[in-house]
Assembly symmetry: D2
Homo-oligomer: 359 residues x 4
């Protein structure tokens, strides 16, 4: 039973390979009457697309999309919204040198083990190119969330050992897009960019981290006991290529905290009930409590390096995998819109799921 | 749309509240002909039950189960297996002192916000007592996995600042159950136990971490792009009460690693293809590669402390929550079988899901 | 992948065998705050239970239920509602004479073919006793629908060749429960009862039909293109034991009708838009239009007859199946509440599903 | 929660409107390694396409498809197979005369009631043009079933009052495609064709029926208690535009049969166990028994007639709907491949679902 759908009510199904004819997504469950802004969808795709800056892969893909269905006179009709991104020149390149080899820490070996055969052109379905469909769908989800005032901001908060340490509430999220690494603090951003440039020169790659902050999420979203809001966010993030870890609120730091330190005290603020601290990360018992939701995601270094590596071929014989092509030295700058898209898909789904709890 | 089911093919539905009539689980999708060992199910429940040692809650619950369906002459029939654990004396206690107050960092406020009303007796459905149903179902999943030789071992690897640092391959997992903290290294275990006893005396609670190692998982399990094996494991773990973070393989450490360090080299070992290192954590591209799968889970300190805390009541008025009752000073010793159960449920499901990929 | 769940949002999972420990259902997705009337649930179970009249099986089963979870202080909490019906004396009887034989037109052969083994006691899971769980869940669904004014009435409209021909709008549905066959027209009811008594004397069984009429269903329920309202109603009815056919609106009579005859003309009636005829059966394009929904269901004669029948055993050898035990000579009187329950489950689910279509 | 997906393991998601940019389907769950024959897919689409004969709509649509993903070097890869059929000249026509009116017995009114707005061009998503995606997916499902020797043949067995009465086993299914009505008996076929031509001249439409026979289905398919094989077949058929009824095996005729007549006697035939009669329609207890599966489907007359009809507009005012355009006078000839496609999708799904029942 395959796993190319995500969400229960705001549900997406994606398809497409790195070098196939097209990639795409069908959203089944977008409410009717939503204004669909094509320029916004394109701007989200542009944030993800290759070739946008000096620190990402220099492949050129326009990532132009076409809405095939579900939108009439500028609004969603309540029927499936299908969006297609056609690959350009997908047949031009020769992949025969890699067809029979397993690249280290790629999905070559596991796809072969599972499916018996594989589309070796650029990683086929295992390529992060697949996420273009998520970003397109996420743009629709963001549009839906905007109606409720919910905002989602992701940003790079670590590359290698360079960390952003400023607290969220002292950051200006409007500056995230001001630099090519997508870190809202200029000085840290520059250090990260320098590191990546240096890593790239070495023919190397480096890991990184993204932090995501969701504001104005109403209390009540999340479906215990299995579909807790943070569990679905966690799954969404872990499903993104290269992600190795997820933590929300206090996260791994909670391990060494005491209950009296960690407990968030409730207070009244006008009509609202808030907490004085937010170690809970805006979620208690798997349900949002109205405070900011925030989480961190760890990304491994990209597996493709510009060096020769020893490996084996499909017959188990030793083989050398040579590093070539145009690849990202660090995945996080382009992963920022993907993280936001997946967060938006989770929230849009839970917003609709929550509707059935009331008489 | 509620979220009390887990799994797609080996699918469980759970029910029950802390102080309701009973808790239980129905497994729909267990293959027919599996020998069901009731003693094993009970032994798993016993590992989770309250009152088992000096460092866990002293509540007394027998947690005896009854199989209501799906097993005939000792074997699964292929029809739903329903297991019920009846609560004892669930009506005896007075919870009126807590009925209108929101305990800090509990789910009281969010359940009220979501459902309008709540069963305040012992936390109702938000209580970790809910996990008894998961452990019962997990015992069946483990039985199924055993047929394929897959083993799952979880253990406590951190309490507060006390860490187990020995590599997995130098640990003797058969010693996990030798001490009440469930850490396979005696010296570290004793230090953890001492810490928890001290924390308890303070009326405090403390966070902790659990590590889980899965051996003999065949290559090929996992369903990209959304239901990657680690994404489903992550969701499963994050759905457990008090969990704040999940990482697999290199996890958060990958952030500061380079590609050449992190890549796991393939080598042939007889017929098999293996990797020389295992930063991938046994999973590449969301699919198991036959190496050990391992992951870490962070747990926050239990929210119930034996101290008075300032909070608010349902009307937003200030209110004092007094600490009383019998609660765990640290959740991890009893969470070990829960982690294993959830891991087993994910693997059993993916083992069955994988069957449809072949002609 | 097993099939013991029904519904998407108002979702039920059932379990249990004819002669197992218990049967039951867990409803996940009932909105919070619904008043649960235990007497009503029991009254619905009583309409289905064996031994209630001279024309049904004389087995004695009390069918007392116990609510295990999800209801607090008389109201649904939004967490799973689990209802259990314990079997009485399930171990008392000897089924060895049937254990190795395939009874004609029962599910003995197919269960063996599918599952490898089977619980032969009273048909195990294939027994219509399974429907007790549906009726319990249906009682909750009816309670939910009542809030919206939706009413569901099923009645027997044919037994053998004896048909009820009076149009729905001339029938008094309050008379359905006035006789043991559950036909709202006394004279026809008596003829049906006489026929069944005669059939029973012959050691025979006879087929029958049930008609169901749903009033006050708002326009807008149904989810094209696959989950059309009538398609889900059809599946629900076809999933009931012994059902061989389903038609709604004009049904099979539509085959020989012309477009001009069949089309239902729209007219305005005050604020509402209605149709002058209702060949559509209250559903157009898979979505309710606000008119009465009605459909017919065909039931085959019960397979257990009080006569010897030639058959084969599990080894393919000839074997005689002797007719004994206490069985229904005609299934329709007891199937009336089952039909209503399944219709209620479909409508409750679609009522909640429809909520996500709007911004 | 929308309903544009079908199937659990062999799962399809469809999209597209009659006059939108494109229609399509994504199949998630087709096993890897299946040879995909594009010519066969086209031939199936051609059986459904408009303009193929004198008795169907004269609209001209080529229905050329494009495979966007999931097939590599002629074989399925195990990743989603996405197939798109682009609409030609979809913007050319003026639909303003119908935009504000509710055509009798169309889905205009109910779509408006549900979604608030609607795509009125040619019926939008409610148009039977939607089924082109089903036929494309069904061609892949048929290809999969062929590997197991399962064959599916549907044919027209009634138009108006003209019925095919010859038993299945005396029919030659290879003759189905010999005439434009798709009835395997020449004489009856000609009478049906004449009737439809006459109906068309009257500006009228007429109902009809299709029968489907599935051969070589192994025993064991079907998932009680809700996803019985015939229940899923029934839902599949009822989800097709214009279908009003479904019966399998004895169907509605069972109502007046006795148990002794209806019971299918088991006999041994070599290694196999078969039945001497087949009133069960190849399915017992919701599971296939290895005998032929057969069922009948009733279609209503097409709602669009070439006559003026009184109706109302969106404001409830009286309005005249004028008959124009090119429409089918009878839906059944083009529905034959749609019925086969839906049957193939159900069987392919159940074949894969059945795999998880064994250890």
């Amino acid at each position: 039973m395959a796993g190319n759908s995500f969400g229960q009510i705001f549900k997406i199904s994606t398809y497409g390979e790195s070098h196939g004819v097209a990639l795409g997504v069908t959203i089944d469950g977008c409410p009717a009457g939503l204004s669909i802004d094509e320029a916004f969808i394109q701007s989200e795709l542009d944030r993800r697309k290759p070739g946008q800056s000096a620190i990402v892969t220099q492949r050129k893909e326009g990532d132009h999309f076409e809405i095939l269905s579900g939108v009439f006179e500028g609004k969603s009709t309540g029927t499936p919204i299908s969006i297609m991104i056609r690959n350009k020149d997908q047949k031009s390149k020769d992949y025969s040198h890699i067809a029979d080899k397993f690249r280290p820490s790629h999905a070559d070996f596991t796809y072969k083990a599972k499916y018996g055969n594989r589309d070796y052109r650029g990683g086929g379905r295992s390529s992060a190119r697949e996420t273009v469909a998520r970003v397109a769908a996420g743009a629709i989800a963001k549009t839906l969330l905007k109606e409720s005032g919910i905002t989602i901001n992701a940003f790079v908060n670590q590359v290698g050992n360079i960390k952003l340490v400023t607290p969220d509430n002292q950051l200006d999220f409007s500056k995230i897009e001001d630099n090519i690494i997508r870190c809202p603090e200029e000085k840290t951003a520059n250090a990260m960019i320098d590191l990546i440039k240096d890593i790239k020169k070495q023919g190397e790659t480096i890991g990184g981290a993204i932090r995501c902050v969701i504001k104005n999420c109403p209390a009540g979203l999340g479906e215990p006991v299995f579909d807790k809001l943070h569990a679905d966010l966690g799954k969404a993030m872990l499903s993104i290529n290269a992600v190795k870890g997820f933590e929300y609120g206090s996260g791994f730091a909670a391990i060494s905290m005491k209950g009296s330190e960690h407990n968030d005290k409730f207070i009244s603020e006008g009509e609202a009930i808030k907490t004085t601290t937010n170690f809970s990360g805006g979620i208690q018992g798997g349900i949002s409590n109205g405070m900011d939701i925030y989480f961190n995601i760890a990304f491994k270094p990209v597996a493709t390096i510009m060096r020769d590596q020893q490996s084996v071929d499909v017959d188990g014989n030793e083989a050398t995998v040579t590093g070539k092509g145009r690849h990202d030295p660090c995945v996080v700058p382009r992963a920022v819109p993907i993280v936001e898209a997946m967060a938006a898909l989770v929230l849009a789904d839970h917003m609709l799921r929550d509707r059935s709890v009331r008489l």
